[in-house]
Every structure is written in structure tokens, then in C-alpha cells.
Amino acid sequence: MEAPILSIVVFTPIVFGVVLFFFPAERHREIRIFALTGASIALALSLWAYFTYDLALGGYQLVEHYPWVPRLGISYHVGVDGMNVPLVLLTGIVMFTGVLVSWGIDDRPREFFGFLFILATGVFGVFVSLDLFQLFFFYEIAVFPMYLLIAIWGWKVTREYAAMKLTLYLFIGSVVALIGGLAMYFASGTHSFSLFALEQAGFSVDFQRFWFPFVFFGFAVLGGIFPVHNWSPDGHVAAPTAVSMFHAGVLMKVGAFAALRVGIMLLPEGAKFWAPLILGLATVNVVYGAFIASVQSDFKYVIGFSSVSHMGLVILGFATLNLTGITGAGIQMFSHGVMTALMFAVVGLVYDRAHTREIPKLGGFIKVMPLAGIAFIIAGLVSMGMPGFSGFVAEFPIFMGLWQSQPIVAIIAAISIVITAGYIMRVIGRVFFGEMPEEFKGHITPINNFDKIALVILSGILILVGVYPSIIAPLVESGAQAVMALVGGA
């Protein structure tokens, strides 16, 4: 019998998180080391899962399947394919680096890491779920700790508001999707929550068209789709660094992934029917998000809105409903996850030292923290879709997919590239170059080694994927083929 790798990946965080609660509260050092151990295990195993995935074999691998509630056809069923295995890896990476950059948290680190790890289990769980009930189960686990993490450790000015807004938005979305999921379960007549069974259920076209919006948009709330995106920038800004990383880096992908896995794959006819609307909304995401980002003066809001813009590209990719577009969206999820984690990590480093995020008040930070500056520039270039970095590798197929479905959208969405270049360069210029204001001179400490490791890992991945896309593209493409097999057509 093979080792249950995925189960270990999923449950390692929560086990470590629960054990953390039994540590004496004041042993900060031990708590951190223990947390890092847990994160390392999760990362190592997700790497293992990623690289042992056998492309030639295809399909779902590392599958584990146990009955859970047999009466209702609910089972614990996990597995990875080309679409979700990069996301599992992404989660492992963000978790690991998130712990590294949170080394300095002094206010109740035990609870902080504990909740963060519970969140991580939820995220892992959603990605590997092959059972609809299980997916919802982990989905909710992933949403709630966010509230506490933001409300307790967040930015004092907006944290209560932002945390509440975020949780309620996401909860509303998920329960609406939940009803849709239940409707599918009962309509299928299969008495099974297995995604495979539901894929083959053969729902009528009318049924699919009616329920698709509930399921898709319910999940897409977490993916940040316009006009229900505005929880996201507020949440990003209020959250502490590691949580912003998790939030923008991974959690938004959970929403997008679930929208794809449940919405599009189970209700393909509905997806075809609603695709024009989704394309329209996502285009607004992309362009409007970039535009709003460009007029922000708060460093973190810029990144927050840029996430809205980039997640719009993911949803655009889904909505193309063709192989290239979905492949691109899959890569974009990974790429944007790493990129945005990196950006928030740097923002956090700057804020920790300057205690302000007002862009006009900052300047010259590259002199004291060159690595952070370079890392941010790399992330910025990724964000601009600059070739040679992962963003290009991801966005290019999305646009190609758009050409095949709605060329006009491709042209409109492309405007965002110029806007993005504008605001990214502005931020880089103002924050990292130029003269450092007098008040900071001599007060800014260099970043520590943990931060450096985190930054190097994240930027390294962005470049690696950029120069050698074949490390991820064939995987995601195989996953996208599975989607296309259900959606049908070109």
C-alpha cells in the first residue's frame, strides 16, 4: 500500500496547528520552529506530489478513497491531476514562506500559526477534493480562520471592518454555491457526492443553465469577480503580511478553482450559456482593477487591486472554455499566487520598517534592502506580463484563448497591460528609488535571513517558470484537457 501522501499534506497543517495550541504561550521560539517544521513537511510532500505526478499516465493520481457518510454517498476522496497539483504545490510554497516572513510576530504567535495552519488545511483540502461535500467542508474551513487572523493581527485602522466584510462575503458566496451543489446531488439521482459521478450525471440543459450562476458566482466571490470583488482589497490591506500572502496567493485561487471544478466541469452547458456574461464581468475586473490600482496611494491597496485585475485574467481564461485559455488560467493561478505572495511579503517588510504605506512618503528603500527591492521588481515584471517571467507564460495562452472565443475581449483586456506597467513602475520608482525621506534615514534595518530565504524562493520560482514554462505547462494542459473533455467542443 502506498503512503497516503495527499492525506498527510492535507492534515499535517491542522495537526501541527492543534498541537501548537498546547504549547506554553510564551515559548515563542519553540512555537516558531515547530510551525516551520510543519510547513516544511507540507512543502516537501507537496513538492513530492508535484514531481511524482506521472504525465504519461494522466488522470487523477495519488488517489485515496474511503467512505465517509455512506448513507448519502459522501466519501473522503482525494487525488491530484494536472490542474490541481500546481495549486497544491503553490499552497505548500506560500505556507512555508508565509511562516518565514512571520517570524517576527510577537503577539500570540501560537494562536497566529495555529489559525494559519487550520486555514492551510482547508486550502489543501479544497484543492485535492474529489467529493463535492468534502470540497465544501474544506472550503468553509479555509474561510473562517481568515476572520480571526485579520481581526486580531491585522492593520488596526480597518481590520474589524475588513475582516467582517471578507468573511460575510465569502460565506454568502459559499452557501449559495452549497445550495447549488445540493441541487446537483439530488438531480443527479446517483446518490453520490463524487465529482466523477456528478460529471457523468447528464444534467438537462435547462437545469444546468439555471444552477450554473449559483454555483459559479458563489465560488467566484472568493475568486474576486466583479462586482463582488470589493471585499478583497480591503481584506488584503487589513491582513498581516503572511495572511495577505495566503489570502491573495492561495485563497483567491481556491475560489477560482472551485468555480472551475464545480461550476464549469459539472455544469458545462450552463458555462457555455453564461460565458459571455462572465467574460464581460472578468474584463471589467481586469481593466477596472488595473485602473483603480493605478490611482491608489496606499502601497498595499495597489497590490490588492492588482490582484483583482489578475484574478480577472484567471476567470477570463476559464470563460474562454477552450484548451489554451484554461491552460493559461491554470498557470496564471500558480504564477499569480507566487507573485502576489512575493509582493505582499515585500510590502510587509517595508511597512514593518516605515510604519506607513503611503507611497509618496516612501523612497529609496532599495539602498537599505536591495534584495527586497529586486524581489519586488521581479514580481512587478511578472505582474506586467513581461516575457521571461511566469506572468507572461500564463497570460499569453489566456489571450490566445480569448482570440479563439471573443477577440474583442482580448483587445480590451490587453489595455490593462499598459496600465499595469504604468502603476508598477510608478510604485517601484517611488518606493525603492529616489531619495529616502529624512525621517527614515538610519532607522531602516536590513531584512533578516528568514525573509531573504522567502524572497529568494518566491522570485526564483517566478523566473524558473518564466524561462522554462515546460516545467508546469504540460501538467496544466493535461488538466485543462480533462476540463475540455467535459465541456466538449474546440
Binding site: 467542508f137 468553509e140 474551513i141 473562517f144 454568502i172
Partner: protein, 484 residues
């Protein structure tokens, strides 16, 4: 289904009830003789006694393949009754443990005796198959509870609670009794399983049946504190000794549901569509009103009171589904709700013991003051809010699933939207607990052993029900099947 002639084995079926009566007697005696040793002894005695009965019930009280009517059709021995009995015994044992140290209660044997008698009444409620037996059982439950609610004689609020509870209870009982008498008048029978046949015959106008259904619903609604018969709940919850509040909000409510399920399903198939619609509307109103009124509360007991009203509404959704799965989901919901609510009240009791306050603002800094207690409250409130991997999530999931299965999509949506309002105010409490600071953070909160035991049991139960729901669901479905 057959009416068994009296045999010695019949006694085995009512063994739990007999033992309960015995236990009440023993408690009274011990209470009189051991004035000095205080409440600890009584509380443990009661708890252990109830646990013993629980074990006996589990071992010997298990119903067979077929349901049997005993005592000339007065009681029905089936899975439904069995499940609820187990539930009541569990809650009573927990309540006894929680009562150990409560002011004005600790050394009073009659307190525990009344608790046991109320439990006895509930067991009978769950198994009554005859209107007369049912009414008696309800009163056996209610009267001890009226007294218990007003048990703290020196406390005006407690006295008010007792009186209010009594007045409301008496009034609704009267209405319900009127309904019973009409039913008897039109059918000439008191056995609820034979009533439906009489109703079916077409002799009675549907309008009349509807009227009777409304009348009995009034009585049941009072028990489960459904809107608009909920007005007593917040005041009683706030005024009663907190363990009793916990007991009323869990066991008593569950007993009400046991009756509601059995009675409505058995007696009124003739006007199924109508009463289901009525219950659906009631469920909607109950959830919405309960949740909306919970929002502005500043006292945690009142907040939990309104939340418990809302929870009655969620559970009613399962009844509306009118299927075996729907009924099972109600039972499952109650199981999950009961363990969760006890945990919540246990924290409230402990906090009040040390701090002397039930105001939410005073919970500030709890997470630093007693991280463990804060964590239990977190688990309990999140479970109430319907978050996985806790009992409340699965419970809500099944209830909504039942609604969707039967085509009550709009009701499911009402339910989930209400769940969001619920989550909002639970989080508001958690925000105070985790986010706000207070000056008393260095003062620890004492947790006596009996309380710790309750906390541990409940938290484990919440997690177990939430993650491994299969056996509990099977049990619930078994119970539900005995009603169909």
C-alpha cells in the same frame, strides 16, 4: 405494529423511566441527609446516576425490528423514542455537572430531583403515542422546569423568569389541550396513530383539521420556542440559573421537536401540504426574527436565547422536507445543536462564576485571560454558526440538503442567508473575546473539574459529530424511519 399485552419484559422497556424515578427519590433523601457536604456530592451523584441510566438504556433499551405499543397503546417503543431518551439523559447529566457550583443551587436536593423528574417527563414525551399520555408527559416536564427557572428565590430576575415561563406555558398548554379535545371529539380516539385513520375517512372537513392542527402547533411551538410563541425565551433564559437555561434551550427544545415530529407526521397526513406550508412560514419567521433580534443583544445569555430561537427555525426546515431524510436531519440537527449549546453555556457559567457578569463587553480579553476557555467558546460559537469541521456545519448541511431534496429551494436559501446573519453575531462575540483587551487579563478563570469534564466531552462530541457524521446520521435515519 402491535399492541403488546402486559408482560414482564414490558418493564424492561420502561426501565429507564423507572430508574429515573428511583434516582429522583434517592437524590431527595441524600439531599436531606447530607446538608453539609454541599452540592458537589449531589451534582456528581446525579450525573453518575444519569450516566448509569444512560448506559442501561443503551444496553437494554434498544428497540427491536418492529415498533411496539405498550401500556395499552400509551407509549410507543421505537428508535425515535430511544434516540431522544439517550439525548435527554446525556443533557441532564451534563446539566447536573454544570450545576455543581452555581450560586443558590449547590446544596439543594430538590433542584437535582426536579431536574431528573423533568428528564423523566421528556423521555415520556418522546415515546407517547396517546394524547392523554402526551399531555401528562408535557406537564411532567414543564412543571419542574417552571420551578427550576425560578429557583433562585432571592433573585428578582429568576423569579420573573419562573413566573413568565409558567404563564406562557400554562396558556399554550391550554390551547393545545383544546386542540386535543377537539381531535378526540371528532375521531373518538386518543391514540395518535389511530387518529389519522379517522381523519382520513373524509368525515371531517379539512378546514376543521387545519384548525386543530394550528391549536396543537401552538403548544409545540411554545416548547421549541418558535416565533410567535418565543416571547418567554429571552427573559427566561436570562433570569433562570444558567445550567437550567442550558437545559431548557437544549433538552426541552429537543423534547418539543420529538413531539412535533411524531404528532404532525402521524396525525395530519390529510392536510399535509397545508401544514407543511404553515411550518415552512413559521420556520422562515422563526429563523429571521431570532437572528435579527440576536444582533443587538449585549447580554450573552439573551444572545444565546435568540440564537436558540433561530436554531429552532433551522431544525423546522427538516420537518418541512417531509421525508425520512428530512426527519433524520432534524434529529441530527438537534444532536449537534445540543452538544454545541451545552458547551457554549458551560463557558458562560464558568465566566460568570469568576467574573460575575454575562455582558458581552466583559468578555474582552478572555483569549488572553484563559486561552482554553476562549478556544472552547470559539468552537461552540462556530459550530452554532455552521462552520466545519464542527457539528453545526454538518447539521445545517443535512437540513438544507433535505429541503433541496424535497424541492424547498427557497426555504434553503432563506436558511443559508440566515446562517450568515447568525455567523455575524457569533463573530461579534468572538471579536470581543479575541480582539479586545481588558485590564483583568492577568486574572485567571478557575475551571473546576466537573466543568472541565463537560467542556472536554462537548468539544470532542462537536468535533466527532462534525467530522465523522456517518454513525450519527445512520442513527438519525433509523429513528426517522420509525415514524414512516
Amino acid at each position: 405494529m402491535s399492541i403488546a399485552s402486559f408482560e414482564p419484559s414490558t418493564l424492561l422497556i420502561v426501565l429507564p423511566e423507572i430508574l429515573l424515578l428511583l434516582l429522583a427519590g434517592i437524590i431527595l433523601v441524600v439531599g436531606l441527609t447530607s446538608q453539609r457536604s454541599g452540592g458537589l456530592l449531589l451534582s456528581w451523584l446525579t450525573a453518575l446516576g444519569l450516566t448509569g441510566i444512560l448506559i442501561v438504556t443503551l444496553l437494554f433499551g434498544r428497540p427491536g425490528e418492529n415498533e411496539v405499543l405498550i401500556f395499552g397503546g400509551m407509549l410507543r417503543h421505537d428508535w425515535m423514542a430511544f434516540s431522544f431518551k439517550v439525548l435527554f439523559l446525556f443533557v441532564a447529566a451534563m446539566t447536573a455537572l454544570l450545576s455543581a457550583d452555581v450560586e443558590g443551587v449547590e446544596d439543594r436536593g430538590e433542584y437535582y430531583a426536579l431536574l431528573v423528574v423533568a428528564t423523566l417527563g421528556m423521555s415520556l414525551m418522546a415515546s407517547s403515542a396517546d394524547m392523554i399520555m402526551l399531555f401528562l408527559a408535557i406537564e411532567t416536564t414543564s412543571i419542574p422546569l417552571y420551578i427550576l427557572a425560578g429557583f433562585k428565590k432571592g433573585d428578582d430576575k429568576s423569579t420573573e423568569a419562573g413566573l413568565k415561563y409558567f404563564l406562557f406555558g400554562a396558556l399554550t398548554s391550554a390551547v393545545m389541550l383544546y386542540g386535543f379535545s377537539l381531535l378526540y371529539g371528532f375521531s373518538g380516539d386518543t391514540n395518535i396513530y389511530r387518529l389519522s385513520e379517522a381523519m382520513h375517512a373524509g368525515a371531517v372537513s379539512p378546514w376543521l383539521i387545519g384548525g386543530m392542527a394550528v391549536l396543537v402547533l401552538v403548544g409545540f411551538s411554545f416548547k421549541i420556542s418558535a416565533v410567535p410563541f418565543h416571547f418567554w425565551a429571552p427573559d427566561v433564559y436570562e433570569g433562570a440559573p444558567t445550567p437550567i437555561t442550558a437545559f431548557i434551550s437544549t433538552a426541552s427544545k429537543a423534547a418539543g421537536f420529538a413531539v412535533l415530529l411524531r404528532f404532525m407526521l402521524a396525525v395530519f397526513p390529510a392536510i399535509e401540504a397545508e401544514w407543511v406550508t404553515l411550518v415552512a412560514i413559521m420556520a422562515t419567521v422563526t429563523m429571521t426574527v431570532g437572528n435579527l433580534l440576536a444582533l443587538p443583544q449585549t447580554n450573552i445569555k439573551r444572545l444565546l436565547a435568540y440564537s436558540s430561537i433561530a436554531h429552532a427555525g433551522y431544525a423546522m426546515i427538516g420537518l418541512v422536507a417531509l421525508s425520512s431524510f428530512g426527519t433524520a436531519s432534524v434529529i441530527f440537527y438537534l444532536i449537534g445543536y445540543v452538544v454545541t449549546n451545552i458547551a457554549a453555556f458551560a463557558v458562560v457559567i464558568l465566566f460568570a462564576r469568576s467574573v460575575g457578569s454575562d455582558e458581552i463587553v466583559d468578555y474582552a480579553g478572555l483569549s488572553r485571560r484563559s486561552p482554553g476557555l476562549a478556544l472552547v467558546l470559539l468552537v461552540a460559537l462556530l459550530s452554532l454558526g455552521g462552520m466545519p469541521p464542527l457539528a453545526g456545519f454538518v447539521a445545517k448541511f443535512y437540513v438544507f440538503a433535505a429541503a433541496v431534496e424535497s424541492g424547498w429551494i427557497w426555504l434553503a436559501f432563506v436558511g443559508v442567508l440566515n446562517a450568515i446573519i447568525g455567523l455575524y453575531y457569533y463573530m461579534t462575540v468572538l471579536k470581543v473575546v479575541y480582539l479586545y483587551r481588558s485590564e483583568d487579563e492577568d486574572k485567571p478563570i478557575a475551571i473546576p473539574r466537573s466543568y472541565a469534564l463537560v467542556l472536554v466531552i462537548c468539544v470532542i462530541a462537536i468535533l466527532a459529530i462534525g467530522t465523522l457524521s456517518a454513525p450519527w446520521l445512520d442513527w438519525s435515519i433509523n429513528s426517522a424511519l420509525s415514524l414512516f
